[in-house]
Symmetry: D3
Subunit: 285 residues, 6 copies
Amino acid sequence: MERNIESFIGCDSDYENADIVLYGAPFDSTTSYRPGARFGPSAIRHESFGLETYSPYQHTDLTDRSVFDSGDMELCFGDPDRALSDIQSRASIILADNKFPLLLGGEHLVTLGAVRAIYQKYPGLHILHFDAHADLRDDYLGARLSHACVMRRCHDLLGDGRIHQFCIRSGDRSEFMFAQAGHTDMHPFDFNGLKQLVDVLRRNRTPVYLTVDLDCLDPSVFPGTGTPEAGGVSFLQLLDAIRISCGADIVGADINELAPMLDSSGMSTAVACKVLRELILALNC
Amino acid sequence: MERNIESFIGCDSDYENADIVLYGAPFDSTTSYRPGARFGPSAIRHESFGLETYSPYQHTDLTDRSVFDSGDMELCFGDPDRALSDIQSRASIILADNKFPLLLGGEHLVTLGAVRAIYQKYPGLHILHFDAHADLRDDYLGARLSHACVMRRCHDLLGDGRIHQFCIRSGDRSEFMFAQAGHTDMHPFDFNGLKQLVDVLRRNRTPVYLTVDLDCLDPSVFPGTGTPEAGGVSFLQLLDAIRISCGADIVGADINELAPMLDSSGMSTAVACKVLRELILALNC
Amino acid sequence: MERNIESFIGCDSDYENADIVLYGAPFDSTTSYRPGARFGPSAIRHESFGLETYSPYQHTDLTDRSVFDSGDMELCFGDPDRALSDIQSRASIILADNKFPLLLGGEHLVTLGAVRAIYQKYPGLHILHFDAHADLRDDYLGARLSHACVMRRCHDLLGDGRIHQFCIRSGDRSEFMFAQAGHTDMHPFDFNGLKQLVDVLRRNRTPVYLTVDLDCLDPSVFPGTGTPEAGGVSFLQLLDAIRISCGADIVGADINELAPMLDSSGMSTAVACKVLRELILALNC
Amino acid sequence: MERNIESFIGCDSDYENADIVLYGAPFDSTTSYRPGARFGPSAIRHESFGLETYSPYQHTDLTDRSVFDSGDMELCFGDPDRALSDIQSRASIILADNKFPLLLGGEHLVTLGAVRAIYQKYPGLHILHFDAHADLRDDYLGARLSHACVMRRCHDLLGDGRIHQFCIRSGDRSEFMFAQAGHTDMHPFDFNGLKQLVDVLRRNRTPVYLTVDLDCLDPSVFPGTGTPEAGGVSFLQLLDAIRISCGADIVGADINELAPMLDSSGMSTAVACKVLRELILALNC
Amino acid sequence: MERNIESFIGCDSDYENADIVLYGAPFDSTTSYRPGARFGPSAIRHESFGLETYSPYQHTDLTDRSVFDSGDMELCFGDPDRALSDIQSRASIILADNKFPLLLGGEHLVTLGAVRAIYQKYPGLHILHFDAHADLRDDYLGARLSHACVMRRCHDLLGDGRIHQFCIRSGDRSEFMFAQAGHTDMHPFDFNGLKQLVDVLRRNRTPVYLTVDLDCLDPSVFPGTGTPEAGGVSFLQLLDAIRISCGADIVGADINELAPMLDSSGMSTAVACKVLRELILALNC
Amino acid sequence: MERNIESFIGCDSDYENADIVLYGAPFDSTTSYRPGARFGPSAIRHESFGLETYSPYQHTDLTDRSVFDSGDMELCFGDPDRALSDIQSRASIILADNKFPLLLGGEHLVTLGAVRAIYQKYPGLHILHFDAHADLRDDYLGARLSHACVMRRCHDLLGDGRIHQFCIRSGDRSEFMFAQAGHTDMHPFDFNGLKQLVDVLRRNRTPVYLTVDLDCLDPSVFPGTGTPEAGGVSFLQLLDAIRISCGADIVGADINELAPMLDSSGMSTAVACKVLRELILALNC
């Protein structure tokens, strides 16, 4: 008899043969409002058995891909430094093995761990950032490692003009001014301008990290998140944006901020599963 | 004093004088993921007292119709054969009395009981099928009587080209290939092509069974169902589709797959009530 | 040390310096279906700390305004007469001090208390009414002071042609006939015609009361309300309508019918907070 | 085919042949904290199909009794006077037909309607009152017809020494002083003294009304109520107390204050069903 | 990197070296009232990471034991025959390998599969049955394979006097009469008589199957089950009963009827985890 | 008009005149399992309006006391060091003003901040610790500032024999061995030995800090907490223990670990409110 293995559905490859490696970061210690994103990756894995592996949108199937699911890391609650370092290490190993690191958050801060690892390998890295929130605060109640500051920390690393933000509809005034000053390339509310941007990135063979904060979706579609913001995009719009983005040279990605306990209907987790399926299928790995 | 009668609101006709007869099938034993559709029909009846009988969409009122609500059947859990046979019997009696059988599920498998009865009376029967799922598996974990196989079982009965599927956005690859091979007339994602089809059906005076799996709706509108699938249609689109469909010669119908406990907000049950009201008002009985 | 003050976020002005005064009416005794709107105003205040004060839609910030939050009144449950009288008194004081009264319900009946006070000051008052329900019954199970009758009571006061209703999609037949007979100016389903109307109201310098029953929103966006009605408007449509309305001479306003316990995800309360923020920012005070 | 009759399980007698008549009062307009008791009686009826009719505690079965379930009255929300008058009328009819009136609340105020009717027939009436709350306020925020005042209103009617209160563990200081002054016979916390009291009542052939506010139970057993008060009695203690009480000459009874929506697990409704079954079986009708 | 293995906490032995083997039966198709027990075993496994492996009651630790967790079987919904046969096969393999089969339900019917396998090996088998329900119906709505009939089916196999029932407090009259007629050894309400019985079983070296329907616990402790029955035992009483029972020669066991979705607080799953830990630690394997 | 002040009911004293000062620490960043304790203090304050100020257990009233509620501190999520330092500062100010600091958590780690301040003033400090968990780990996944280590950190400060633990029923083996080695005075499961201990403490005039982790209560009474542990004490037992404890010279106290979102029934918050009321009334300030 075999042990009880729980992977995201259809992701049953060996590590050696895998092109894509899933790794979960169940961390939400800096969440300022409603916590629970720590349960996101395991919920996605657990509820994926209600999902079909086949996509009628892309006419292909997860079983056509080689994906390994390495489960959740054991991260230290209450110590963001240590947690980020552990995430960075895991991502570095996956990259060193020439596999695609696909991170499941957790709060959005976890992205910083992955970006640090990927930036080391790809110094010319750009970031595609889908999110309701600008995440550009320099600190939040004194903390510089906070989910509200994650893109600002990425900016510290990458510098001006390399973070492309879409769907943004929430932040304090200073964050919007920071973007307007040219530090980031912010597209408020929706995916306007994405196609043109990806064309440029592809032409330039720019390595791109894609980070999908699922709260870019409208709360009607995705209520199960810490800080739902009305006025978001639809599932089909996000699907489209993911497929467009995969026209660029995506070298790492994550989806994050599912807080499954906040949506007792389960539809948020189901949407997250489907977004993950479509992202895997859209990647050119 | 009278006993406590609980009917769907505005459906207070005697059986003798009724044109339409509601009958509930509180069955969900073959549901593979999240059960609870058994509570659908009684929830619809129970919560209908929060619904107006008047439709501003159709400018007419349930009290203008003659509808009898025969309540829920007592079905045997864990024995699909027996349950389907009981549903078929109830439908046959209603048909024999020249009334319109309007079934409230329950999981989608219950449709098979109704279709068997109606097919006996109308051998030229076609089916209009609104659903997120193809329901065309030949078996599910060995069971051929499963909610995931119901349209395949209907196909066994009716044969090629007589099942018209709309809004389909989930299934395994073999189901989509079964449809593409011409066995069913599948319209993925939405109601594209419905109007043209109904024109043909009306011209040919084809008897049509309409089965509405409420999960054709987007989960944002209808989260209270066993397997919510992002990317569905809106309430107004479904309303439109129902009114278009009633241009054909509808000889039987059902709505199914409300699992009220999965949506603690109650909006799913409220939507189901309104869909039922609009369906009754759209029928030419 | 200071006492624990809980105001709607960014509304920290002194009463003396305030242009706008928030006052909460935690009353829902006449709610006929699912109660709980009594908890609306305190939930809006309590959960507002998850909201940004800055609006990327209007490029302005609550801290640019002078708003005083006077908290919830202590209203007598089970006695609508007394409750309405208390609301009227509070509104009158705010008006007498030349401040803008912005009421947080509570069930929709609370609007009548505010309208009575404002009508005394502005006898030429018109009402802009956003709602899923017509609220035009003359009585409900014998009660004339009911949330289902509130616009009828306002009509008693204001007379024909001065109540402008938008988004209406539920009511009994008599209510729609009452409107069609010209007693009110009813625009079913959406905001069609709002812009033209506001142009006229502005040109005529008509004083206008704006009452927003949040159930005008689609239940997918706002499930947390007593009687959710499918087929409503989106958040962005409501936002637009509010900004258009503020082109007229708004002299008082309310938002009502949030029942936070009916939506365990919290997204309804979050939407209500954002609607309130945008309404405050759109007002020309 | 028959209409859909929904009675409390095993209560299928005709009115003519019934010894006991159930009548529901779905009213909660004066509830000061968390409303929802209006849904109590229909939930008890609806969920009773999960209950056995047989009691292993009393070795007897509901089918051995003759009980008629007259369903819920249509009461006017927001008008306690009118609601109480309707309840009184219904109770009076049942009494006039020499049947036992068994009321299902609703908030506790509904008891007053029943007591008024029964007091007319039995001027020597005493009341057995099981409750966490004293309910002896003279008014609540100005209202004298409030659930917090119901026993005080009964005292207005019956006078000193005829209300026997058990399990009381909440109230303001004045209520406890009112009792201590001898106006009521208050037994705090539990059923201490019940047996002795019932012996006296039986010997004196005193007609007794039994009112069971289910919040006398500990919240661990019965969380689904507006104002749960820790430190209550267990289910088996309540069972015992009911059977002891039925040694007296009970001439009317009620159970009240189930708010089913406040307990999503459903155990509160299940307990209420079982208490009702045991009460019916314990009555000497 | 390793695949994501999800075992009950502290149960990390290889199959070969294991003394005890856990196997999950996620089946609830015959549940007559509220389904959901299918999610029991995976919830127990999933939430066990909130449990300590050490027991202060037994001063020992799960890591001192050798337990293998074989995960959930893939059972066919809607076909009890097939499901029971699959469970029987799994139990037979474990027995053939001289390991202790410890089944996690699912609805109570799953016990029949295990008992069939164990009875083959131990024809002198007795059953210790802890449950709120007698489960002695001969059929339920026509079905003989139903969770309400499971002990009757076991009686078909074992015959009179070999099923020892404890905590029973619900059933129809015929079930209690069946027991009283001597077919089973029924101890209503609690564990009265357990100690004496186990002494006899031990002295006779009788092989015993222990089946724990967790609804023997009071609903205040364990609300998350299909049919909660007030008046049950406490956690500490059950703990005691389990340790007493393990004085006999237990040759197989199960715990069942956790329906985790019915208890949003999670305490029911937490209790089930602890009962399983204590049962494993009490077994003499 | 006044601003909206939200204090725990009956705690309306000025700071200057107050004997007791409430201060909330909405922090839960190190919670290892289910977060949410951050919402505890505001829920206690918010829901206290459903509580009576009078205690029938102690025959006294909160309005007889002088208590100031200083609201919640703004603590930095994700940075335990900074948070503890802020809590320590607040406690020190209250102590310096010769008032009694009564802390509302938050996860249990917050106690460390208060103990540090109080230990500075009272070097002979002992701690009375009511909890389901030993909280004696030296680190948790590498973090030494974790809710699972809080009593160990207090032990670092106070040394052997000065921490008296009651109700403990969960921990890993090493924690129980640490206690058995005499480092702490551990009383497992219940309040056995409390009375004798308090007698000694009183006689010695030992200054005592009382920390009540509400999960010492049985989960049936208090499910709304991160890690519910079956087998706890009842509300009345806790009440008794608090009153006994107040026989000693209590110089500071806290109650913590209410996670209100985990109990949708609200009974956990209601219990916490009542425990706080009874604690305030039992203190000799």
